[in-house]
Point group: C2
Chain length 338, copies 2
DNA sequence: TTGAAAGCGCTAACAG
DNA sequence: CTGTTAGCGCTTTCAA
C-alpha cells in the first residue's frame, strides 16, 4: 500500500526544530543559519524527502495538470502529438491527463467535465469530428480557464491555436499531380464543418485554378473519417464514367482506405491512379507502393500547443496566438507515373 | 487563470450553516434534517460544487494516480494497451500518468523517481529493452508500492504480470509454416534477456520439434528492436547459402523491416519466402501482401493489467497474479504459398 | 535567527 | 440534529 512519505514534520521532530525552519532551510532562505541549513538539507537528502505536491497544490490551488482531449489516442498522429505536448509539459513540471473523445461530442463534453472535476489547470484539445456546438468550450473561456486548440479548431472562438497549413499543402499536392501528368484530380474530403476540411479543400480548388484545370464536382467527395466511409467515398469516385487519374485524401485513414480499394478494383497505383496522402512517415513507407504524402509535423504541433498553453498560464500578453506549421510534400512511389 | 472553484465553505457561509453540516448533507448523512439536506444539495447543484480532489487527497494520502511506464507511446501496440489501462482506471476514479522510457534504462529509472515524486499510488510498466538491473523496481516492492508488469516482465521478481502466450503463439506460427510446405523456417528474435524473446524462441524450437524439423542455428538471428538492426538481421538471414523459405519476427518492427528488405532484394512474398509477424490488425492489413500475424490482445492486456493493479490496491489476497493471454493466428496473404 | 499560527478544502471524532 | 475542532503537508505572515 505504499509507506508514508517523509514530511517536513518528520524532519523537524527528528532535528528538534520547527517545521517552518525546515521549510525555509530547504529553500535556502537567508534567515536560517548556515549550520542549521546544512544539517537540515543533509537529513532531508538522507531521508529522501520530496515535497508533497498535494499539499502544495492545495495551498496554491494548482494541480500542475493539463487536460488533453483528442479524438483518439491509438492513431500515430495523435499519440505523436501527445508526445510533443508531454515533452514540454514535463519541462514545466506539469503532467498531462489524456482523455479520448472517440470522435463523439458527448464524450468530449463529458471529458471536459471530468477533467474539470480533477481540477486540471487548463486544456489542450483537438475537437471531435462530431462537435458542432461549442458551449462546453465557451464555458471554459468565460471562466478564464486556459484553452488551446490544435489541428481541428473552432474558428469562431478566440482561442490560441496551432494548425498545419492545409491550404498550402493541398495546393502543393494538386500541383504535384499536375506536373506528373494528372488532369482529373480527385479529392476525398472530411466533414464540411471542420476547419481542416475547409482549408484543404480551398487549397485543392486554388491549386486546380493555378494549374488551369476546371473544378469538376464529381471528383470531390466527402466522408466522415471512418475507414468504412472512406472506402465508400473511394468507390463513389471509381464509379465515375471517367475515372480520376489522381486521388488524395484528407488524412491517413482515408488515404489507406483509398489505397486498398483502388488495388481491390484491380487498378494500378500510380499508373492508373496516382495517390497522395496526409500521413506520417512510418505508415507511408510501409505500404506498397510507398505513399507520397504531406507529412504532418506532429511532434512540433504538440510542442507548440504546449508552449501556447504555458504562455497563457504565465499570463503573457504579446504572443502569436495563431501558429501555422508548414508541411512538407515527400514524394514516393504512389504518385510518380512511369 | 481559472476562477476559484466553489468550496464547502462558500456553501456554508451562503446558507449560514457550518461546513460540516454541508459536508454531511452532501453525502446524505442521516444525521442531517431532510430539509437542510435538500436545501444544501440544491445550492451545491446550482453552484456546481465538486469536491476538491487535492484536499481529499491530502487527507487520505492518495492521489488517485497510476504511473504507467512504456518503452514508447507512439507505437500502436503500446498506445492501445494504454487505452485499455485508462478505461479501467477511469472506472475506478483513477487517472494515469504516462511516461516513456524510450527503451532506455536510465530514462526508466528517472521516470520511476519522477512519478514517485508526483505521489502516484503505484505503477503499471512494460520494462525497457535495455533494462537488466531491477533495483528501481525492487525498491518499489520493498516499499510496498503496487506494481504490475505487462508484456515484458522480470521473472525473478515477484510481481503480478500479464503477458501474451508467446510459446503457444510461435509454436502455432512454426506449425503454420510447416503446413504450408516450409521447411527452412527462420526466426528473428530480440534481446535474449527479455522474457518475450525467450518464450517465443522456446515456442519456435518446440514447434520445429513437433514438426520433425531439425533446428538450424543459421536460421535464428537476434536483433535489438530497432528497424535498422532488424534490417541487418534480415540481411543476415538472406545471406545464407541456403535461403530460408519462411521468416517470422518477434514484433511489428521486425516484421515490417523484414518485409521491406525481402522485397528490396527482389524476393517474392510468400512464394520465395513466407512471412509472419506479431502485429496488430491495422498494420497487417495495410501492407502488401497483407501480413499473416499473431494478434496481440492489446486492449485486453491493458485492461487486465489495470485490474491486477486494483486488486493490489484493494488489498485483495487471492487472485491470479500471472495472467497469460491467448493470441490468435490470423492467416493472410504473406504466408500462404500458391 | 527561529517559532507559532493561520489557512488552503475536506473529513471525522467529539461536543453540545 | 448541528457545530467545533483537529489534522492531512505546506507556506507565509507575524512575533519573539
Amino acid at each position: 500500500m505504499g509507506k508514508r512519505h517523509i514530511s517536513l514534520k518528520d524532519l523537524a521532530t527528528e532535528l528538534g526544530v520547527s517545521i517552518s525552519s525546515v521549510s525555509r532551510a530547504l529553500k535556502n532562505h537567508p534567515d536560517i543559519s548556515p549550520e542549521l541549513t546544512t544539517k537540515i538539507q543533509k537529513l532531508a537528502k538522507e531521508w529522501n524527502y520530496t515535497p508533497n505536491p498535494l499539499a502544495m497544490g492545495l495551498l496554491r490551488q494548482q494541480t500542475k495538470m493539463i487536460g488533453v482531449i483528442v479524438p483518439d489516442i491509438v492513431t500515430h498522429f495523435y499519440s505523436s502529438i501527445i508526445s510533443g505536448i508531454e515533452e514540454v509539459a514535463k519541462q514545466h513540471g506539469y503532467f498531462i491527463v489524456i482523455a479520448s473523445s472517440n470522435e463523439s461530442m458527448g464524450k468530449e463534453i463529458e471529458s471536459v467535465e471530468n477533467l474539470l472535476k480533477s481540477r486540471v489547470e487548463g486544456f489542450i484539445v483537438c475537437i471531435s469530428q462530431e462537435t458542432n456546438n461549442f458551449e462546453h468550450f465557451e464555458q471554459l473561456i468565460s471562466n478564464e480557464i486556459p484553452l488551446v486548440f490544435f489541428d481541428r479548431i473552432c474558428e469562431t472562438l478566440e482561442v490560441p491555436t496551432v494548425i498545419a497549413d492545409g491550404i498550402d499543402a493541398t495546393k502543393k499536392i494538386t500541383r504535384h499531380f499536375y506536373e506528373n501528368g494528372c488532369r482529373r484530380i480527385a479529392y476525398i474530403s472530411g466533414p464540411e464543418h471542420l476547419n481542416i476540411s475547409k482549408n484543404r479543400r480551398e487549397g485543392y480548388l486554388e491549386g486546380l485554378k493555378e494549374c488551369g484545370l476546371k473544378f469538376d464536382p464529381r471528383y470531390l467527395v466527402e466522408c466522415n473519417l471512418s475507414t468504412e466511409d472512406a472506402t465508400r467515398a473511394t468507390q463513389q469516385l471509381l464509379n465515375n464514367s471517367e475515372l480520376p487519374d489522381a486521388i488524395f485524401g484528407l488524412n491517413d485513414t482515408i488515404a489507406f482506405a483509398a489505397m486498398k480499394e483502388i488495388k481491390k478494383q484491380g487498378l494500378k497505383i500510380p499508373d492508373d491512379i496516382a495517390l497522395v496522402g496526409f500521413t506520417d512517415e512510418f505508415h507511408s513507407t510501409v505500404v506498397d507502393p510507398s505513399l507520397t504524402s504531406v507529412t504532418h509535423p506532429t511532434l512540433k504541433m504538440g510542442r507548440e500547443a504546449a508552449k501556447l498553453f504555458f504562455q497563457i498560464i504565465k499570463n503573457e500578453k504579446n504572443f502569436n496566438k495563431q501558429i501555422v506549421l508548414k508541411t512538407e510534400l515527400v514524394v514516393r512511389e504512389s504518385s510518380t507515373k512511369s
